[in-house]
């Protein structure tokens, strides 16, 4: 393939990924937004906190933080799943923070913030191995523990595979095949700031590296399936009545609008 071909090819991929990124973001935000709206709008007609439960809202916040950050219930339940899940999620957060470098122009922020982005880089780089380890642990449990295999459907495996593809392609780009991260950042910043005319210039196009194409395709796919899959556990955990309700049923009357309408309105 000659240089002209390659340029044309990257022109295509640049536009393709830019468009896909918008579509995926739109689906992710609208989809998860709709789900959150739905959860918010659906009433919890009865007090059902799993007790012992906190007696105050502040207590509920602490309970929720312990669940969301430390996976407290999972820790009580199963140390292996907890370990793999903790490693995976912890590493994922560090890696996500590391990727902020592609979305923030240093000129947009004050230096101390940028310094933090710089500081996280080496951690994020090696967290990728931790993430792969956690994912492989979760996958191994699903494959080799009989009762886990029983409850797993194809999508449960594929979700792990998708995350592994993202992780492996990322690791390869960091340590083996490499890409032009400066050019990629120019592309990404143009995408998120809607500077589409930049894509005419080769300095703002997607770098022509197959591993990058794979990595981004998998990320885009993940964003698209997010609102339609079990990844909804991320927003869902905050809406679980068993965890987020205050234990004050005797002190404070709690009635859902539909119950008032159905049972109490005619009497008053």
């Amino acid at each position: 393939m000659g240089g002209g071909n390659k340029e044309a090819l990257m022109g295509f991929w640049t536009t393709f990924y830019a468009l896909s990124f918008y579509v995926a973001t739109l689906i992710l935000i609208l989809g998860v937004g709709y789900k959150i709206y739905q959860y918010t709008k659906t009433p919890a007609p009865l007090k059902i906190p799993t007790t012992p439960a906190p007696l105050t809202t502040g207590g509920v916040v602490i309970r929720m933080l312990l669940e969301v950050i430390l996976f407290k219930s999972l820790f009580r339940s199963n140390k292996w799943i907890w370990l793999f899940a903790m490693i995976f999620h912890g590493a994922l957060w560090v890696i996500l923070l590391r990727h902020l470098r592609y979305f923030i122009d240093p000129q947009w922020v004050i230096y101390p913030i940028w310094e933090l982005v710089e500081l996280i880089q080496p951690f994020g780089k090696y967290a990728s191995f931790a993430m792969l380890f956690g994912l492989l642990g979760l996958l191994a449990r699903r494959l080799f523990v009989e009762r886990m295999r029983y409850i797993s459907s194809a999508s449960d495996y594929l979700m792990l595979v998708l995350l592994l593809v993202i992780g492996v392609s990322g690791v390869l780009m960091s340590f083996v095949t490499r890409t032009d991260i400066v050019q990629f950042k120019a592309f990404m910043l143009s995408v998120i700031s809607f500077q589409w005319q930049n894509f005419e210039l080769s300095a703002y196009q997607m770098p022509p590296d197959s591993m990058l194409l794979v990595h981004l395709a998998a990320v885009i796919l993940l964003m698209i399936v997010f609102p339609f899959s079990k990844l909804l556990h991320a927003p869902g955990v905050f809406f679980s009545p068993g965890r987020n309700q205050v234990d004050n049923a005797r002190e404070k009357r709690h009635v859902a609008p539909w119950a008032i309408k159905q049972f109490e309105a005619p009497q008053t």
Binding site: P52, F71, Y150, V237
Partner: protein, 499 residues
């Protein structure tokens, strides 16, 4: 009344996670409700012709009414942490008795009809059509869940299979495929006033007999009042307390406590039942209808307080739902919790020194305590989280010199269900009940071996009945099950305050 055709599980030398045996409990099935019972509760008499359509619509309706259902169906990631937590799975090894396995029966259908992924790629995401087989699986396996919430303790998202079971049972009722045991009992509450179907005169006759017994035994006139207007306290026991052993001795215990407290009290023939099976079938409407009887009785008898007897699920409905369903209780004395548990009531008296207790009266007993599931994981006693664990134990310790707890991962909020809760306490489910009791029996065995425990006290009518039935399968004696308030009643020194 056929003999048991199953093998009692053997105690495990150490608690290994069982290997799954798909389908072994597929045919363990409770009797289906009769048309009359169904209709009394507002449901079709028998399975309607367009059951599939009705069921899907009902599921759709419930999804808009219960956030718990919607979030729990969406959120599960199949992490597997619940898979070894259900006593029915431990006892039966049927994977559809794993909490996630049970939930998936409903979740698969939810995905098929209510999610984009399930509509487009059912195989990929494990979505399934609502077939007759699926409906039967719902019926069988959602009636092998005691709604004990143990799974919810361990779920990283707090997913509670009880909520899923309740929704599934409500759908089953809505298509005319209800369970006989639950629906017959609710019908009796509506027609007669309590789960057992004891008419007022029968209750009065029973209570008079018990007053005689107490008089014979102690020489003291302890009253067990019924329908006495103007009493301070309306006391609501489970109707089993009028009827069977060892419950009855608990009722005598309550009577002695009230007697010593000097607080006037009464039971009600209108609200002669603490239990509320409306919860078991997931029906807000029926649960409310049953609850309203207590409000009505409290108003009719002009009481100032409401106290509930030893009944686990009753305490859940009373503690967590009564205010919602039948409140507000503006007419009651706000200085006391509304409603109050008999253990809270007794504990307060003990704290105040108002009861003289002779611990040595229970010296022939070495006691352990079974935390009833719904009390432990859905309610509270006292003013601090976890009071539901502390207060009954403090009451027992105030009455007994020998108290020993079972292993720590089988008590408090990790307690195992007795195996008979949530609408399973019926003879045709004896196999499920016996097998489901395995983890609790193992814990009891351990404390028996380690501390020579002779009695297991509990505060739930279902626990007491279930245990008296199943402990013989495991080599224990039915007399080893005891009410907490029997211990209180035996230790209490009557009339010391009056002298």
């Amino acid at each position: 009344m056929a003999k048991a055709k199953f093998e009692t599980p053997e105690f495990r030398p150490y608690p290994v996670i069982p290997v799954i045996k798909p389908g072994v409990m597929k045919d363990s099935r409770s009797f289906v409700s009769k048309p009359g019972m169904q209709e009394s509760l507002g449901y079709p008499g028998e399975l309607v012709d367009n059951w599939q359509e009705v069921a899907i619509n009902k599921l759709g309706e419930l999804l808009t009414k219960y956030r718990s259902l919607r979030v729990y169906l969406d959120t599960c990631v199949k992490c597997g942490s619940c898979t070894d937590k259900c006593h029915y799975f431990i006892g039966t090894n049927d994977p559809k008795n794993m909490p996630v396995g049970r939930q998936d029966l409903l979740r698969q259908v939810y995905r098929r009809y209510f999610t984009l992924a399930g509509k487009l790629f059912p195989k990929l995401v494990g979505a399934k059509d609502l077939t007759r087989d699926m409906l039967d699986d719902w019926y069988n396996y959602f009636h092998q869940c005691s709604q004990c919430r143990r799974c919810s303790v361990y779920c990283p998202y707090g997913i509670d299979t009880a909520e899923i079971s309740m929704a599934a049972r409500e759908i089953l009722d809505a298509v005319g495929y209800g369970q006989k045991y639950c629906n017959e009992i609710i019908e009796k509450v509506y027609k007669i006033g309590n789960n057992l179907g004891l008419p007022g005169p029968a209750i009065r006759n029973t209570l008079e007999g018990l007053e005689e017994d107490i008089k014979d035994e102690t020489g003291v006139d302890v009253r067990l009042p019924l329908d006495e207007e103007g009493a301070e306290v309306l006391f609501v026991p489970p109707s089993a307390d009028f009827f069977v052993e060892p419950h009855v001795d608990g009722l005598i215990g309550y009577g002695k406590v009230f007697h010593q407290s000097g607080i006037s009290w009464t039971m009600s023939s209108h609200a002669s039942e603490a239990g509320n099976f409306g919860m078991f079938i997931g029906s807000y409407e029926n649960m409310r209808r049953v609850s309203m009887r207590i409000r009505e009785a409290a108003l009719d008898l002009k009481v100032k307080r409401i106290v509930f007897g030893e009944c686990g699920h009753a305490w859940r409905v009373a503690y967590a739902f009564l205010n919602t369903l039948a409140g507000p209780f503006d007419f009651l004395d706000k200085r006391y919790p509304i409603p109050q548990h008999i253990c809270e009531f007794t504990y307060d008296l003990i704290q105040k020194g108002a009861l003289k207790l002779d611990k040595s009266a229970n010296d022939h007993r070495r006691v352990t305590y079974h935390d009833s599931c719904n009390v432990a994981r859905a309610t509270r006693m006292g003013h601090k989280p976890g009071g539901q664990f502390v207060i009954p134990r403090e009451v027992i310790k105030a009455c007994c010199n020998h108290f020993y707890d079972m292993p720590s991962d089988t008590i408090y909020d990790e307690t195992y269900c007795c195996g008979g809760g949530g609408g399973l306490l019926t003879d045709e489910l004896m196999e499920v009940r016996v097998k489901g009791a395995l983890p609790r029996m193992e814990a009891l065995k351990q404390v028996t071996d380690d501390h020579q425990v002779t009695h297991m006290a509990t505060i739930c009518a279902i626990c007491k009945s279930q245990f008296t039935k199943v402990v013989p399968y495991y080599g224990f004696d039915m007399d080893q099950i005891i009410s907490v308030h029997q211990l209180v009643g035996d230790a209490i020194v009557l009339n010391v305050n009056e002298v």
